[in-house]
Symmetry: C2
Subunit: 354 residues, 2 copies
Amino acid sequence: MESSSGRPATIREVAQYAGVGLGTVSRVINNHPSVSPATRRRVEDAIEKLGYQPNLQARRLVKGKTETIGFVLGNRDFLDPFHAKMLTGVQRYFASTGHQVVYTSLQYSKDSSADGMVLPKIIRLRGVLDGVIVAGTNYPNLLEALDKVGLPYVVFGNNMVNGNGRKGHDTVSFDDVGGARKLAEKLIQLGHRHVWYIGRTGLPWFSRRYDGYAQAMEAHGFKPMLCTDVEGKDSTHFGAAAMTKLLDGGEPVTAVCCGNDVIAFGASKAARGRGLNVPDDISIAGFDDRDVCFLTEPELTTVRPFLEEVGAECAKMLLAKVDDSSARFPEVITPTEVVVRGSIGECKAAACGV
Amino acid sequence: MESSSGRPATIREVAQYAGVGLGTVSRVINNHPSVSPATRRRVEDAIEKLGYQPNLQARRLVKGKTETIGFVLGNRDFLDPFHAKMLTGVQRYFASTGHQVVYTSLQYSKDSSADGMVLPKIIRLRGVLDGVIVAGTNYPNLLEALDKVGLPYVVFGNNMVNGNGRKGHDTVSFDDVGGARKLAEKLIQLGHRHVWYIGRTGLPWFSRRYDGYAQAMEAHGFKPMLCTDVEGKDSTHFGAAAMTKLLDGGEPVTAVCCGNDVIAFGASKAARGRGLNVPDDISIAGFDDRDVCFLTEPELTTVRPFLEEVGAECAKMLLAKVDDSSARFPEVITPTEVVVRGSIGECKAAACGV
DNA sequence: CTGAAAGCGCTTACAG
DNA sequence: CTGAAAGCGCTTACAG
């Protein structure tokens, strides 16, 4: 039942109806112990009668906390599956703490000054957000702008470009160096000696994955081999072109670590196009554990980040920062794991002309 | 620069610093015309000096509008690409109106009573949300609960189960009937006579797609043929099993419309496993235009819904409802289009034993 | 053009 | 245990 006026009932109307003071109603709805059973009963009846629901906004204003955090997706055209998983993790964590999450995308130039950036109203103004989680592809100028606004934030580190200046602070990442290293280890264990890496190392994440791969190779006394300088309108074509170049290059190759799954998909296509069998003639692996892994034939071996966990860690760190805005936290690096599927196998060197 | 206290400056401090009244500061930040240039200048200086940012929460409380809407994802484990695209459309639309969107997932049983449902605080209480967009898989009891709370809502219609009672109101859908019809038409144009439909018609969306398919078949005097009753632990396996059953069944089949892309993916796999060539021996098409379409070989013909547009239409309708809560809107059905790719071709009847 | 006041819907000491 | 009052940070008639 609604209040007589048609507008939602307020605490005042409830108090009046129950014949008590405002404060008493407030105590009842907040489960404050010092209310007599009889009074509580009267108030509860009134609440029921008037269909009263507290106004959360008003409550927040007096409490000075908004219990809302922002999930900012930087420089993406849309919410891709990768970040959607992170958002799911964030949302799940905050569901347990009673926070709500506001989703915003934000396009900006990496060259604009921190002062010149037009931030969304909810970030620029006060009283809406307790803090933000910065995901997507981002640059230092956004963080600088956030610092100016004085809003606590936590950054998803893997897609941060040129973040070296502030490296290691208030950041959550997954371990792509370690993941790539373990993947290369696995291939070496399988007997491969001529393992290549395909990826545009101009981008920091591809570069880190290369580093991990190279660590494993060098640890075993093999030379890391990089194929990066190839044309391709997208990752699939890049992967295909790189694989073609490798196969034409005349150098031996029995296995390939690709910068991500889509590149690996393109590389597989090109290898099959050359009549090679995966994995008998060549082993191919990707990175990220995207859905595409299940759609290649054979299914793609890859490195899996736990994106929901990454999201949850962002959420947890942010809450700690909100409670103590002066605190700085060392980077959290969540684990990754190698997922072995059909696309890699034991090295059968003869087949590759080695 | 911060206010001296360390806490963010309030309008009161600005007024004091500038030597004016509260109202004047308010007028300045709201660009009210009746402020003398000199005063405006003084206030702006004070704002700058104190690093003042208005508190949006407080502003909203007095205005009585929250300018926030909720995107509720019902009964999904995570934010899948399909709904992520809708959310992108919603967010994009609201970015232009200045609204913000809060993302929440919500699990509930279709059998719980409307009163018994535990709604998130932001939905149950007042003052946070002006309205909600209901996406994901949903049942009438949620809408009933929303009606009780008195929160305006708009429903994404395609994944609504048992929604017939309220059919056609406050709903945005994409035209799956029409899409399936156009797809079947296309196959018929290509000379196919023995076109089957694969999908679990127990689910409303697969049933509607079947209806569209059947309309086209009947319009041309062909008998619709349905393959629905097959085991399969997921859509891929279901599609594969259904295709196998068809091929074993002895009845002629030259083309297959699948309930969605993943089913089509499974069906393609099974057909290829039988040594059939797609599309020379059999044409296969899906529905939804998921990424998987690009990963099958040949690429999958499908029906594309415009999910960002669906999201934007939800947003638009919701705003209209918020402005006039008693208004009801007829269902909006957004168009779909057939996307022809390599997986369908002209009927070469002989190859299929016809 | 401008200030003082009332009010948005709540919470929380402060006195009883 | 309970009520009256002050206050959260703003906006908006209302008088000047």
